[in-house]
């Protein structure tokens, strides 16, 4: 046998390597390797598979009680569907339920208030601390210094009201809403029979953009479209409602009330109509004297002829209705305005607006409303039931200061600006996790969080004074005692003495002002609303680039006004009002906004609303007008005199 020499060995080896290599290449292995490398380097997440089914849920945390159908994969909820329409908050419930910054256990404050430092405690410790604090206040005879702020009138809000009242305090307030404002101004909120109206006269109510119960309003809107209902919208910006309305009445910022006075004046003097409301004579005298049509025309920018035309159309319609409550999710109107607009309904004897009350909810406490409570009230202990007054109230900064001196308990599923000032935070649920009499919970409770209803019941049981408030031990039973809506039967009163000052002050408000020549009014972006949506990434994903773009919050200013002030698109400006200034806002020039108006998006500028919602833009409430209305106890922040530089 021939001896294998070194050369041959090398040849053989080389051949083997070459052959192996080509075999490897042609086998496709390297390409498979690339594929693995791609998958490995990119770490793609694969959702966990599971049995597919649908579960039903009814929201117990929104006042509309949205009914949804939830698509489930195993025990995970992956999609919210609804045949009946769903409000933005409930539509986003998945992102609340699975929010990575859900509060998992009761928390106790560690550092200074506002630092956001908390340590976990057990439920027993938390409840014990709260009840001992409450007990000592009650025994000291300071029960009335215990207060609560509810987000809305949902069942847990009603339970909270019962609990606090049972403890001996009168101070239960609600975040201002259409219901709370109208209830306080008129003695009952208005139940609109929109389905049967043929003429809707809206004073800045952005009817299809989140106003009142948004899911219902969308349905109402389709009915209007098919029936050809006439919609007349008084608005300062070309909102969607204004654009979809049959007629848009462009008014100068904040003059919706004046327009209502003008129309009322015309209907009373020109068409000899009467209202049955108390003090009508006194009120009509005041309006007729103070607001002749020429003056109304100059204030609102709507011609006398047009005011008369609207008055004629309105009064001649078969079933007209006038709607007050400017805004969409964040509603605002002075009592003078609500009364004036409701007066129009009474003048034409509208069948479509009925005053209602809820047996379990009183919007007034020791003070007329939340803002007057923040301004003048004193409290040693405060319950926040899913509410965020620090962010939403124009007096939020004042509230912060008062909260620093009080013992604050916050019940909410994720952090917000107000909870950041709490001593104890109790984690509550998203509605997908809570049980209702009709349905079981769709997903199980997140870690140690509990149903807000159960939390409130447990708190009441822990106190001697309140332990008999509720005859049941579990939140699920509380559905039986939910408040009933009934016609208020209250006699509508113009309350002239209370609102006269506000009406008098209008002259000053609309007089030329050299220092603050412009008006700032709020606008809302879809889904963001007045701020609740901002913690949810899919809301962030839908924000239009003309509102919030590359981290910059844009205010809308009319082109002519922009020219007057030498502004260019995307330019940074500072907005100043008598109450302060807003930095880091940028200009978007558009003719959809009235001249001399700064249209400011609401809902931005949270301080601690999870990392998704925080530090985005500015919160205009900080500089908005803060004159508190005597009847509603809510600040009249809609239009604020500002200057820009």
């Amino acid at each position: 046998m021939k001896k294998i020499e070194r050369k041959d060995f090398l040849k053989l080896g080389g051949g083997a390597v070459l052959g192996g290599l080509s075999g490897w290449v042609f086998s496709g292995a390297p390409f498979l390797g690339f594929q693995w490398l791609a998958e490995w380097t990119q770490d793609q997440y694969v959702p966990v598979k599971g049995f597919e089914k649908y579960a039903q849920a009814v929201s117990d945390s929104c006042p509309a009680g949205c009914k949804v159908s939830v698509r489930m994969i195993g025990d995970r909820a992956v999609k919210i569907e609804s045949k009946d329409g769903v409000c933005p908050a409930c539509h986003n419930a998945l992102q609340l339920t699975y929010h990575p910054e859900r509060i998992s256990t009761p928390l106790k404050r560690k550092g200074d208030k506002g630092d956001g430092k908390f340590v976990p405690v057990t439920w027993e410790e938390a409840v014990k601390e709260i009840s001992s604090k409450m007990n000592s206040l009650i025994t000291e005879g300071k029960a009335n210094s215990i207060a609560a702020i509810n987000k809305n009138e949902s069942l847990n809000g009603q339970l909270m009201e019962k609990f606090i009242k049972a403890a001996g305090s009168n101070n239960v307030y609600y975040e201002p809403s259409l219901k709370s404002l109208t209830s306080s101004a008129l003695g009952g909120y208005i139940n609109y029979d929109f389905a049967n109206t043929d003429y809707v006269l809206s004073f800045g109510a952005k009817l299809v953009e989140g106003w009142d119960s948004s899911a219902d309003m969308q349905k109402v809107f389709t009915q209007w479209k098919t029936k050809g209902t006439k919609i007349v919208q008084a608005d300062t910006v070309c909102s969607m409602t204004a654009s979809l309305a049959s007629e848009w009445v462009p008014v100068k910022p904040g003059t919706e009330a004046v327009l209502a006075f003008g129309i009322a004046n015309y209907l009373i003097t020109g068409r000899r109509l009467n209202s049955t409301g108390e003090e009508f004579g006194k009120w009509s005298q005041l309006i007729i004297n103070k607001f002749p049509l020429a003056k109304v025309a100059s204030y609102t920018g709507v011609s006398e002829e047009r005011i008369k035309k609207i008055g004629d159309d309105f009064s001649k319609a078969k079933n007209p209705v006038a709607v007050s409550g400017k805004g969409a999710c964040g509603v605002n109107a002075s009592s003078a305005e609500i009364i004036a607009v409701y007066c129009l309904n009474t003048l034409v004897k509208s069948k479509a607006a009925t005053l209602m009350t809820n047996s379990s909810v009183t919007y007034k406490g020791e003070f007329a409303g939340l803002d007057s409570f923040i301004k003048d009230g004193k409290f040693s202990m405060l319950f926040l039931n899913n509410s965020d007054p620090v962010y939403k109230s124009v007096l939020g900064e004042d509230l912060k200061k008062k909260m620093e001196k009080a013992f604050v308990v916050s019940i909410n599923p994720i952090m917000n600006d107000s909870a950041n000032y709490a001593d104890i935070i109790l984690p509550s649920l998203s509605f997908l996790e809570s049980e209702t009499p009709e349905n079981k919970a769709v997903v199980s409770n997140f870690k140690e969080s509990k149903d807000a209803k159960d939390i409130i019941i447990a708190l009441s049981k822990s106190l001697d004074k309140t332990k008999d408030t509720f005859s049941f031990a579990s939140g699920i039973d509380s559905f039986k005692v939910a408040g009933k809506e009934t016609a208020s039967g209250a006699k509508f009163s113009f309350n002239v003495d209370k609102i006269k000052n506000d009406i008098d002050a209008l002259d000053k408000k609309f007089a030329a002002n050299a220092e603050y020549p412009l008006f700032m009014i709020p606008v809302e972006a879809p889904l963001v609303g007045d701020g609740d949506g901002l913690a949810f990434p899919y809301v962030l994903k839908s924000i239009d680039p003309t509102v919030f773009y590359k981290g910059k919050l844009l205010v809308q200013i009319n082109r002519e006004t922009g020219k007057k002030y030498g502004l260019s698109e995307n330019e940074s400006i500072v907005i100043r009002s008598a109450r302060g200034k807003l930095d880091k806002v940028y200009v978007h020039l558009t003719d959809t906004v009235a001249p001399d108006t700064v249209a400011m998006p609401l809902g931005f500028g949270h301080e601690s609303y999870t990392k998704y919602g925080s530090d985005k833009g500015v919160n205009p409430k900080k500089i908005m007008a803060a004159d508190v209305d005597p009847l509603t106890g809510t600040a009249d922040w809609w239009s604020t005199r500002v200057k820009i530089s």
Binding site: V48, I73, R76, Q218, P526, L527, F548
Partner: protein
Amino acid sequence: MKEKVKEVKMKRRWGMAIDLDKCTGCGKCSVACNQENNMPIFEDDSDVPKRVAFLELMKVTNDRDAKFPDVKTAYLPKMCQMCEGNDPKNPNPPCVSVCPAVATDVGDDGVVSQIWSRCIGCRYCQTACPYEARVFNWWKPEYEGSFKKSLSTDVSVASRGTVVKCTFCSHIWKRERDAATAKGILDINAVLYTPACAGTCPTGAIVFGDLNDHDSEVYKLTQTDRAVRLTNPVDDVKDADKKKSLLKAKQFTNPKVYYLTSQQWLRDMMRFKKNS
């Protein structure tokens, strides 16, 4: 059995009609689309040109040509327009032919599909698309912590550097077909479906259906005078001969998504011409 399934011819040609006079801009379609299609979740999604979303709720105003108060506003939900080119029988969307890796194709139901895992990320299709309907994963799609629990198993999570797009939620159709198959119905044409956006629209502005079925609501809507397609200039040519010669000279997108509106300003805004 298998033979039988093969014989069944595709009847469907999915299309959509969106009534802009009914659209209130509530944004539910956008949220539903994001949920259904596992859209990535970012801390700050305000870099709109790099945003990954299949459905864009575009705000349209006519203030380019009009002054206050003669202005109007509308929201226009824009998804993939499912172009079919000049010949519906031989669809030719601008994006499909350019793909170097056959990652995108047009099915015989007219839906322009995209396979995330085949895409090499060259973005030629984005360049070709005149509707900005295709989005690229500029960053790795993120789903922080427990957000992962809300992910659907029907749509695969895309990796960084791939182009993704609206598919008319065709996975829902597959889901419905699977359910039908379980009941013994094997005909592909037996099942209809509703994409997430159309299913959630509270005012019923989005209507989805089969354009080949002349009894369907969507077909009837597309035949009305109110129907208008986005920037498709050949639609404006009323003269039949002229139209024919134009179609002979050049491909047009001819989308299967129709917008409905009787507002002239909005119709004008959907064309590159001044408001009348």
